[in-house]
Each structure stands twice: as C-alpha cells, then as structure tokens.
C-alpha cells in the first residue's frame, strides 16, 4: 500500500532514469503478474469452452483433421505393439537358440537368387547326421520336411493341414511343442516307417467335433489316402496373425519319406543350450557343411546351403513394421498440418467475429497478453480435445482390429499423452497468428465493429 501510494505521488520519471523506473515498478509487476495471469488464463479457458460449445458443428468440423491424424497414429502404434508382443512370444517358444540348414533360404529376394539356389545340392539326412556327429557345440539336431494335405476322419475332412515329418523325436523339443495326451512314437516306430501320428488341437476341433484329446488317441486318420493311427495330441500353441499354429500333424520322417520321396530336400534344425553358444555352433556347422560341399567358407561365390536363424523373420517383420510406422507418421503429419491450417482459419474467423468483444475487453483493461492468451487457449483447447478424441477412437479401432485378428491389446499411456501433447502443440502453432492479430487490435477500432 505504502509503496504504491508513494509511486502515485511521484509520477514524474526520476532522474535515475530508466533503471530506477524499472526497479521501482519491479515488485508490482511481479506480484500482479502471477495473479493476473492465473485469473486471466482461467477466464480464457471459460471463454474458450463456452465459445466452442456455442458453435458445436463448427467445433466438430474443426476437430476432424486433428482427430483423423491422432486416430491413425494411435491405432497403428497400438496394433503394431500388440503384434510385436505376439511375435516376440511366438519366436521365443522356439527361441533364439535354434538355427537351420536348408537348400533355399526362407526368403528369396530375386529371380537370380532363385536360379542360384536351385543349382544347389539337396540337404540330406546324411548332412544332418554329420552335423550331429561332428558339431560339439550343438545340443539337439533334427530334420523336418513339410507338406500340406487334406486330412480325413470318418466322413469329416480338414483341408490345408500342415504335415510335418520329423526325426528324431527331439524335433518336438526343438519345435517347442509338448504332448498333452497319449505319447510320442518310439525310436523304433519312428525309424521303421510306421503310419502313426501326433496331432495338433485343431485336428480335434475340426475332425472330432472338439472331443476330448483322450478320445482321439487310437483313432485312425486318412492322410493322402493312407491310414495313420493317432498316438498323441499336442498342447495348443494358439495363433499368430490369424493363422493357427495347431493345425498340424506330426509324422515320423521315415514315413514322410515313404510318401513324399527320399529326394526331397529337407531342413536341418540345430538347437544350442543357450543363445551365447549360437555363434560357436554356427561356425562349426559352417565348417562341416563347407567340407561336405567341398568349399572353403567365404571363398566360393555360393556356399551351397543356407544357414538361418529366426532373426531373418524378426528382421523382415521389423522392416515391415517400421515401413508401416513411417507411412503412418507421414499420413498423421499431413493430417495434423491440414488440421492445423483448419484451426488457424477458424481462429481467424473467430477473431473477426469477436472483434467487438475484444474491444470491450481491451477497454476495461485487458492487455495484449491477456487477449493473446485467450485465443491461444481457445486454439489449444480445440486441438487438445481433438487429440483426446483421436486417442479414444484410435484405441477403439485398435481394440476392434485386435479382437478380429486375435492379438493382445497394449494400451500405451505414452502414446496417449503424446497424441494429446502433439495436438496441443499444433494448437499453439496454428493459434499464434490469429491470437497475435487479436492482441494487436486497436481498442477504438475494435469497439466500433459490429
């Protein structure tokens, strides 16, 4: 009280000059600044919400661009995160301790490669035996061949069932599958071409009407016209990307050979005890295979076989999803920019419409900053609401898609906060110019507006 009274009595600029003026005005500026800011910000927020409410259709249309952008990002990020988790779980069931030797790699990138690979010698049972005998770092070695068949039981039939011929029975361990009911065939049965099989749970579902696993054991399936007796049923593995991993029938490799011929190239699976030993085992296997193909590793133009780990899939998956990310972020950026321009346009209209109001506010003491803040808050409120709606619809969309395809929904708080945060920044950027125009309006001119 005393200070301000003192200031009022001496209105003249003192001889201390500018610095003294600044110094004397300092305490007042600082104390009033906070109070004025807070009340003015609250007032700005009230004005913003009431003006948005009174123009509902306009507000909704203004929001649209922001909503679309944020929805796209949130949905894609959530879906990919869910897929990531599924993929990680799936591959860890076989684990990063397994690698394969095959004639062709899983992914052939060009025609030239295809021609090159088709000149290679087949990978044979002898190759697998040599690896099993010579590779000291290898833990389990097995071979597998795949085919797709229609499987019949009585008058029921199931199409596109994966037939997997394996040897020895440790291949079940390498594949990471376990017996739920019944048993695995014995070594003797396995090597003598018996027509017996172990089935996945989809076979129960599709051919036995979802009957108990015990009931299926001992029954006879027909695969490619031959009868196979079921000796065991596997634990379910679930599905990945909508494809069931339980739609499978395991048969002994010797039986597989009888049906599909001995001349088919097979895949050798090698498992090491821990991931740390993977590299050593791979080196040994390269040497063994190099010797068997008569080549020195790294010197010939083709090794004559393909050594792969699951990194191949993970890398392919990673590059596919990162491309999806890039495209989505591009789409989102475009729609946020367009959304921002829409917001800016509407804010300019709003400033023009409310010129009189701005004049009134200025006449009764609103400063430039108060007006600037008011319109900035209005712009940010619009875009933040848009962002929040976008986060909601994005999660909603991801939920629907995840329910349809069948992968877990991972709701990330970070992406929600980011969605609203980025939209708010868009609001600040697009509100700045209109707000500045409002703030610099001349009060006399503004009051004259209708």
């Amino acid at each position: 009280m005393e200070r301000s009274g003192d200031r009022r009595a001496k209105p003249q600029r003192s001889s201390f000059g500018l610095w003294a003026t600044v110094y004397r005005s300092l305490p007042r500026r600082i104390t009033s600044f906070r109070a004025v800011r807070l009340t003015a910000i609250w007032e700005a927020f009230r004005v913003a919400t009431s003006s948005l409410r009174s123009n509902k259709l306009r507000t909704a249309l203004t929001l649209m661009g922001i909503v679309v952008g944020v929805t796209a990002v949130i949905a894609v990020v959530t879906i990919i995160k869910g897929l990531d988790k599924t993929v990680a779980q799936t591959f860890s069931s076989q684990g990063s301790t397994v690698f394969t030797i095959s004639k062709n790699p899983q992914i052939i990138k060009s025609r030239e490669e295809f021609i090159k690979f088709s000149k290679r010698k087949d990978v044979t049972h002898e190759d697998a035996e040599a690896i099993g005998r010579l590779c000291t770092s290898c833990w389990r070695v097995g071979v597998a061949g795949n085919a797709t068949e229609t499987v019949k039981y009585a008058d029921q039939k199931a199409e596109n069932v994966r037939i997997r011929g394996v040897d020895p029975t440790t291949m079940f361990d390498i594949d990471g599958v376990t017996i739920d009911s019944g048993r695995i065939w014995t070594e003797g049965e396995g090597s003598s071409g018996h027509e017996i099989c172990v089935v996945g749970t989809d076979i129960l579902k599709n051919l036995f009407g979802g009957a108990n696993a015990d009931r299926a054991v001992g029954q006879e399936l027909r695969i490619a016209g031959r009868p196979y007796m079921i000796v065991g049923v596997l634990e379910p593995l679930g599905s990945i990307f909508g494809f069931s991993r339980d739609n499978v029938v395991y048969i002994p490799y010797s039986t597989y050979q009888k049906t599909y011929g001995a001349r088919r190239s097979l895949v050798v699976f090698i498992q090491v005890p821990t991931a740390e030993q993977l590299e050593a085992a791979e080196d040994q296997v390269r040497t063994i295979m190099g010797n068997r193909r008569g080549r020195t590793p790294g010197q010939a133009d083709d090794e004559g076989y393909a050594l792969e780990t699951q990194d191949v899939f993970l890398n392919l998956y990673g590059s596919a999803t990162s491309n999806i990310y890039i495209v989505t972020i591009g789409v989102a950026a475009v729609s946020l920019v367009v959304g921002g321009i829409v917001v800016m346009n509407i804010m300019l209209v709003s400033v023009t419409e409310r010129t009189k109001e701005i004049g009134i506010r200025k006449a009764i003491g609103a400063r430039r900053n108060d007006i600037l803040t008011q319109f900035l808050i209005e712009a940010v409120t619009v875009t933040a609401i848009g962002g929040a709606i976008g986060v909601g619809t994005g999660f909603g969309l991801a939920y629907i898609i995840s329910a349809l395809i069948g992968f877990p929904l991972l709701v990330s708080i970070t992406s929600a906060v980011l969605g609203v945060g980025v939209s708010s920044v868009v609001g600040i950027i697009s509100g700045l110019w209109p707000a500045w125009r409002a703030a610099k309006l001349d009060p006399i001119e503004a009051l004259r507006a209708e």
Binding site: S4, R8, P11, T39, A363, G365, R367, R368, D370, L447
Partner: protein, 253 residues
C-alpha cells in the same frame, strides 16, 4: 490487493498542498494541457483537436457536448486512455498518461476509468455477474473477492436479483445498469459515459440519469459525453466542443 484498490492518501495530500509539477495542477483529477490529436489521412494531416486544455477536479459531474465531427469522440477516447494525444500532456490522477504504451494504458483503463457505452457493450454470453467481474479479472482479483465486489456493485444499481441473468434476458435500462456496475466495480477515478442514454427510451433515460446523479452525490467523478442538451444539462458543468476546440466551458449549477 494493493494493485486493486487505489491508494489515495498521498494523492489527496498533494491536492491539499497544490503542488505544481511541469505546470500541471496536481489538485486536479484530470489535467489536460494543450492537447492535439492529428490523424494522417493519406498525405493530408487532419487535426481532430487543436490544443485543448482543461481541468476536472475530483468529484465533479461534467458533460462534454458537441455535434458529430466536433472532436468530442476523440476527446473522450483520450480521457478514457483508449488513445494517446499527438501533442500535449494529459495527467490522470497524478499520472502522466500522454506517453504510455498499450499495456500501461490498459492498466490505467482497468484501474482508473469506468466506461459506460451507448450500446452497453456487455458480453452476450456472460451473466450479469460475470460481466461485472470482468475488470476485476484483468485486475487480478481472486475469485471469492471478485464475486463479492461484483455482487455489491450490482446491488448498488438495484440489480441484486438479476445476478445470473444474461444480457438478452434484461431490458435496455437493466443492461445499462449492469454496464454501470461493471464501470464502478473497480472503484475507478472517473466514470466515463459515452451517450449513455442514446439507445434508451426517454423514461429509462431519466432513470439512468437519476442513477448518475446519485452516484455523483456518493462522491464519484462523472464525465458524460453527449450531443443531447437535456442530458448535458443534468451535469454541473458543461464543456462545449466545436471544430476541435473548447467553445464554451460553463458551470450551470
């Protein structure tokens, strides 16, 4: 708090001793010295005010009258600190307002001037209470105190029962009284009314003028800008403006 209420103690002591600073009489609430206002119209300079000088002591009820184009509105904008003079000095309540920047002027308007407009200029979407609170919001008054002050101001213009009404739910006279409550809520040095009855019928006009009279008797300094003689004649002093100059300055009661 110290920002909101005006501390008159030292100003009043200055009035008593009649200190003269730069030739202006500090005993006066308003002191205008040789005020010019020039507008640039293309290459031509148009003088709206040609060196106007006058003083208004605290507690006066004064009317500024003149035909349109006389410079009356320009003078009102200057008195209300909506604009600054091209030349000359304007002291308001001991402060030289002549060369303040926009934000300083905004603060002066907030603290020292209460505007009453012809068309009321209330915010259409806000309640009477919120309209009256507006100057306090920009003055940084906390919400509970703001409510109380605004309610008191509305009660002072007999609108205690219309607090939650919006302008479109009020009659013209009631709207103008809300505007007067808004003008007074911050206890300004001057109440500056621009054609306050211009949009009202004659009966309501009289009510508003009666209210001004009452506010004057309660110690407020009132400046009414008008072109109507019967409105001007309610004041105690009438200043007539013509062609940017004071034509007549007479005390009528």
């Amino acid at each position: 708090m110290s920002d909101v209420t005006i501390a008159p103690s030292l100003t009043e002591s200055a009035i008593k001793t009649n200190i003269h600073v730069n030739g202006h009489d500090t005993s006066m609430l308003i002191s205008m010295r040789n005020i010019w206002k020039t507008y640039q119209m293309g290459t031509e300079s148009v003088h709206a005010l040609h060196g106007v000088s006058f003083d208004i002591p605290k507690g006066e009820y004064i009317a500024i009258i003149g035909p349109s184009g006389s410079g009356k509105s320009t003078l009102m904008n200057l008195i209300g600190c909506l604009d600054t003079p091209s030349e000359g000095e304007y002291w308001l309540n001991g402060k030289n307002v002549s060369d303040m920047d926009d934000d300083e002027l905004a603060r002066i308007r907030n603290q020292e001037v209460g505007f009453v407009f012809q068309t009321f200029n209330l915010l259409a979407r806000a309640t009477a209470l919120h309209n009256v609170e507006l100057p306090l919001i920009y003055g940084g008054v906390g919400s509970s105190q703001r409510h109380e002050m605004a309610k008191k101001a509305l009660a002072a213009v007999d609108l205690a029962d219309r607090v939650t009404h919006r302008p479109n739910e009020l009659s013209g006279g009631q709207r103008q009284r809300v505007a007067i409550a808004r003008a007074l809520v911050n206890h300004p040095s001057i109440l500056l009314a621009d054609e306050p009855t211009g949009a009202l019928d004659s009966h309501t006009s009289m009510e508003i003028m009666d209210l001004f009279e009452r506010l004057h008797s309660e110690g407020n300094t009132i400046i009414v800008v008008t072109h109507e003689h019967d409105i001007a004649e309610r004041a105690h002093r009438v200043v007539s403006i013509r062609d940017g100059l004071i034509e007549k300055d007479e005390r009528i009661r």
